[in-house]
Symmetry: C2
Subunit: 275 residues, 2 copies
């Protein structure tokens, strides 16, 4: 699994790259089955939507040999290393479930804003590999991306004064931001401003990352993205692995988020790497 | 403006028909400008979303010569008469505004269920002409339709026991159903069941009614439809006119909804009609 020069150029120009059908149908079926088991567990790593449906489950590999293997699978790991041009570790991983007819939306944001501000990550030398566990089409809430938007650094976000952590600390704030983001874009802690989205979308358009189950979307930590709710009768589940360059380790910050959201285990995933 | 045999057949087979570019850009601009004026008025005909954005404004023609003319414009009126095979009156009209980045979604439903149950409309000899005031694309919450779903009559809806009108009467119930439908599909009074949508979408697929501003979507009172929230930086506003056959007048019911939601003025819109 080695990306071509064109694929590398596409990624660096657009901020994302879709590799179709990296995982076979049987592998996807196993991941889906394991997902159904994992998300039953009522624990802090599980985030619910207002409807009560599961929205996210962080670090599923902690209790799953299957997902632990997927994280190290060379079909996702080697492209990540090639795109970041360095060995990597996992900063964050999660199952994002978007259930048929109830799955909720995600407002426009950049991931790195959260990792930089809340986790102390120095540079955007980071990407996420999103493994599609279902066919993703126009109707079940595909990820929307503005191509090229990763090249401008961290964009300004709305006034977040009212959304700062309260006396209950990070966890409440995190739960609020993750759970109650339905109709009010302001509920996500760092969202992108409308004028900014309008300017970028006017210049570059919006791309909908549709692809069959088993495909993988690699996207840059700074690329603008969002996704609609799922009105269709078709689930749209995915497993997201955020690979960070081993030279981009987190700095010390006060009030860090927990390990299952922002890992400080910097052990490189690949041994004897030759770049 | 006379529909072809093929257009009539398409409508009766699919339950909808899109006529592109019926209104010129200049006409659309006038309607949009008039809309901006109308929706400023704080009154019971205006329905807000949770975000505070305007969601709907009923019977805009009551205070607007422009919209009064649009309702009688032969480009929409004559196709409606031809599709219903009878002279018509207006049962309901409204501006549905879906503002960029805040416009909220509509759960799967059939319109006729509301008109039959709550307004006493006998038969589904009724359709809506939806005039697009903006270009409507994949990203700004186009109407989603299941082709052919109008041919099965009124489908069963979820248990509505908990959603029945309370002591405050129809208006509160209506406000609740219209305003608070964001993340919980149950908030719309009569929504279609997931299994039903899944069965129909599996057989017929889902169609997204994308078209340029000035186009008109005609859709049957019984066709299954829904639409996503608007994550894009592009507004998706529309003017919807529900034409009902003059032989399908409302029956007497207790606790009727007000005139601006369910008109009992049955004056035929076209004089000297020859079908």
């Amino acid at each position: 699994m080695k990306l071509s020069e064109k694929q590398l150029n596409d990624y660096h120009r657009d901020g994302f790259l879709v590799l179709q059908d990296l995982f076979a149908a049987g592998e996807v079926a196993v991941m889906l089955q394991e997902m159904e088991r994992i998300i039953q567990e009522d624990c802090p790593r599980r985030i619910l939507e207002k409807s009560g449906a599961v929205r996210s489950f962080f670090a599923p590999e902690a209790g799953s040999g299957i997902y632990a293997r997927v994280i190290r699978d060379e079909r996702v790991l080697l492209p990540a290393i090639q795109l970041l041009n360095n060995n990597v570790y996992v900063h964050q991983s999660k199952l994002n479930t978007k259930h048929a007819m109830v799955g909720d939306w995600w407002a426009w944001h950049q991931d790195f804003t959260f990792w930089h501000n809340d986790d102390g990550m120095p540079r955007p030398d980071v990407l996420t590999a999103m493994i599609y566990l279902n066919d993703t089409n126009e109707f079940n809430g595909p990820m929307l991306i503005i191509p090229g938007s990763h090249r401008d650094g961290i964009a300004s976000t709305g006034d977040t004064d009212e959304k700062e952590d309260d006396a209950n600390g990070w966890f409440n704030a995190y739960q609020n931001s993750a759970t109650y983001m339905s109709a009010l874009t302001a509920d996500l802690k760092y969202t992108l401003e409308k004028d900014n989205i309008k300017r970028w979308a006017g210049r570059k358009g919006i791309v909908s990352a549709k692809a069959p189950a088993g495909s993988v979307l690699f996207f840059h930590g700074n690329v603008f993205h969002a996704s609609s709710n799922n009105l269709s009768p078709w689930d749209r589940h995915a497993f997201l692995i955020t690979y960070n360059s081993i030279e981009n380790q987190l700095t010390d910050i006060s009030n860090p988020r927990p390990e299952f959201i922002a890992s400080r285990n910097y052990t490189p995933l690949l041994k004897n790497i030759q770049l």
